[in-house]
């Protein structure tokens, strides 16, 4: 059962065309990777799904056409976006950040339980629960961003460059937690990564974007086996 489907999606900033017909589909409980160089349109694809850029083409989530919706409306349908650069609320504490993540929910008890779950998933945040987000390290901010997204109890997570600017060991920690989250919750994911090695630890299928269009799509195993992928994205 397909949860998210993009059909020939286009987008542009002013006169500059950024997406030139991207198509992909993610099944329920699936995880899909988007690989590609800087400026290939990876981030814009996620922004297109969230409704943060104007788009052409069709975006269908759970059988419903969501193109044209505002980001908050998209979020209300159950898509949580972890933006590039983490998007933390610097002047809010860690706990407040998590509460903002749960803005759409009304079940107080469930919220408290999920905060506990997040702190279990990211034990580093436990000690910093009263700190301002801006006082966290880069890795902790990334964990907070993922945790904030979880707090909305989404059906799908959009994860943008979660390893960017992190030390390799920290990045691995983050991805370990994401994998655990996927196993335990079954949330579907679209993962944008430059570091394909990390992405492949989580995703089942992936596509490679070049200048705004998909040039290659396949399963993780297929892609990992390809020479050009290995050279360009796997550092070997």
């Amino acid at each position: 059962m397909t949860l998210l489907e993009l059909e020939d999606v286009t987008a542009s900033y002013g006169p500059v065309q950024v997406l030139d017909g991207v198509s992909l589909s993610v099944p329920e409980n699936g995880a899909f990777g988007i690989l590609g160089a800087n400026g290939a349109g990876k981030t814009t694809t996620l922004r297109a799904i969230s409704g943060a850029v104007r788009t052409g083409g069709r975006i269908v989530f759970d059988g419903k056409d969501i193109s044209g919706m505002r980001p908050d409306q998209v979020a209300a349908l159950g898509i949580a976006h972890v933006p590039e650069g983490r998007g933390s609320f610097g002047d809010l504490t860690v706990r407040e950040n998590l509460r903002v993540g749960a803005y759409l929910r009304k079940d107080r008890k469930g919220i408290d339980e999920d905060i506990d779950y997040c702190l279990d998933l990211f034990p580093n945040l436990q000690d910093r629960i009263k700190s301002n987000a801006s006082a966290l390290s880069g890795g902790e901010q990334q964990m907070l961003a993922v945790a904030r997204a979880i707090m909305s109890k989404p059906r799908m997570l959009l994860l943008d460059e979660a390893s960017l600017g992190l030390a390799p060991s920290t990045a691995k920690n983050v991805y370990d937690a994401i994998r655990r989250l996927r196993l335990e919750s079954g949330i579907a994911m679209v993962v944008v990564e430059q570091n394909a090695n990390l992405a492949f630890t989580v995703v089942d299928d992936a596509t490679v974007l070049e200048t705004g269009r998909s040039v290659l799509t396949g399963t993780s195993a297929e892609l990992k086996g390809m020479d050009e992928i290995r050279r360009a994205y796997l550092g070997g």
Binding site: Y13, P15, Q17, R54, G56, G68
Partner: protein
């Protein structure tokens, strides 16, 4: 300003590589145009004072005064990103130094040098302390300059003439020049102001300008590149103060009178408005800002003197609403409008999410610049 970089980068990044340049830019590269256009401008400016009416000369001279003041503000704010609400103080200081020097019958060249030096030193001292702060804090320290400057000027009445102010008529046209006073004054403004603009143009294009831009963009990045944000903030503030002092000299050339009212807080705010309306971080924008500062009160007075505040506010909002990048972005906005209307092609698919990007065009481009908490 994020929008502007996208469209104009190609023209600036490779001015030398004429091989790839478009016909339009090769037209600009032709030596006739390269040298002819500025020369024509120069000749135009040299002739203009002789043919215009007295009141037009006078208005142009006042535009020159405030264009220089706005230019100074641009150095510290438009180019270096430090909010200064005190620029008018340096204009006032320069005007007082000039008035005092003239009243003591000092040599006018010495007076001019002092008019540059004293505000620059004052600016340096303020900056040494204030540049440690950032963001709104530096704005508040600079706000204090006009606020404290006005009562200070009254208290130092031995030098300033107190609240009655000082007159200095020292710029009568020289005997035998055959010029009227207004023509001579305008020439002085054009020459001195022109030199200041030229020097600033080279400054902001050169390595200092690049450093200013990096400091403006991100101080942490600047530090990591070995550029001391503190040093460059102090430098920018000092230069801005010096230019402010020069504008004060020109103020005395044109207005020939100064009083504490000259440096009141309201005028400092008006300079800031003029800078943004003209176009922040732009040499041409500084001139347009000067035009706005001087011409708008005249226009609103001509429409209805009892409604000047209402009309000025409405005009300001209207200009920024249409041109958030300031008047200097008008040609670009027009070009964009033309391109959009002529090319109704479907490259950009029909906008299907109008609500997520309010305000159409510019806002759409600016979605890239996210606001972060004040650092």
């Amino acid at each position: 300003m994020a929008s502007s970089s996208k469209t104009s980068v190609p023209t600036t990044s490779a001015p030398a590589s004429s091989a790839t340049s478009s016909p339009a830019s090769s037209f600009r590269q032709s030596p006739w145009v390269r040298w002819g256009a500025p020369l024509l401008l120069l000749v135009g400016l040299a002739v203009l004072p002789l043919v215009m009416t007295e009141s037009a000369n006078d208005t142009l001279a006042r535009i020159g005064v405030f264009a220089v003041a706005v230019l100074g503000l641009n150095v510290v704010m438009g180019y270096t990103g430090q909010v200064s609400l005190g620029q008018i103080f340096f204009l006032g200081l320069g005007a007082y130094v000039t008035a005092y020097g003239v009243s003591q019958e000092w040599n006018i060249v010495l007076v001019f040098v002092l008019t540059c030096a004293i505000p620059a030193v004052a600016g340096l001292l303020v900056a040494l302390a204030a540049a440690r702060l950032g963001g709104l804090a530096i704005a508040m320290v600079t706000i204090a300059l006009p606020i404290v400057g006005v009562p200070l000027a009254k208290r130092l009445s031995d030098f300033t003439g107190g609240s009655q102010g000082m007159s200095a008529r020292f710029v009568a046209a020289p005997e035998g020049s055959g010029l009227y006073d207004d023509q001579w004054q305008l020439y002085l403004v054009l020459v001195i102001g022109g030199i200041v603009f030229l020097l600033t143009y080279f400054l902001v294009r050169g390595k200092y300008g690049r450093a200013f831009a990096i400091v403006k963009g991100n101080e942490n990045v600047a530090s990591s590149m070995g550029i001391s944000p503190y040093r460059y903030k102090v430098l920018a503030f000092t230069i801005a103060s010096l230019i402010g002092g020069v504008s004060g000299f020109l103020y005395m050339v044109v207005v020939q009178y100064t009083s504490p009212e000259t440096m009141s807080f309201g005028h400092s705010i008006e300079l800031l408005v003029a800078m943004v309306i003209g176009g922040a971080g732009s040499i041409v924008g500084s001139i347009l800002g000067g035009v706005f500062y001087v011409v708008v009160p005249d226009i609103t007075n001509a429409i209805d003197p009892s409604l000047t505040a209402l009309l000025q506010g409405a005009l300001l909002l209207a200009v920024l609403f249409v041109l958030p990048g300031g008047l200097v972005s008008l040609p670009r906005a027009v070009m964009r409008g033309l391109r959009r209307s002529s090319a109704g092609r479907g490259s950009a698919a029909p906008p299907t999410t109008p609500s997520s990007t309010p305000g159409s065009g510019t806002a759409a481009e600016q979605t890239e610049t996210e606001r972060h908490g004040h650092a």
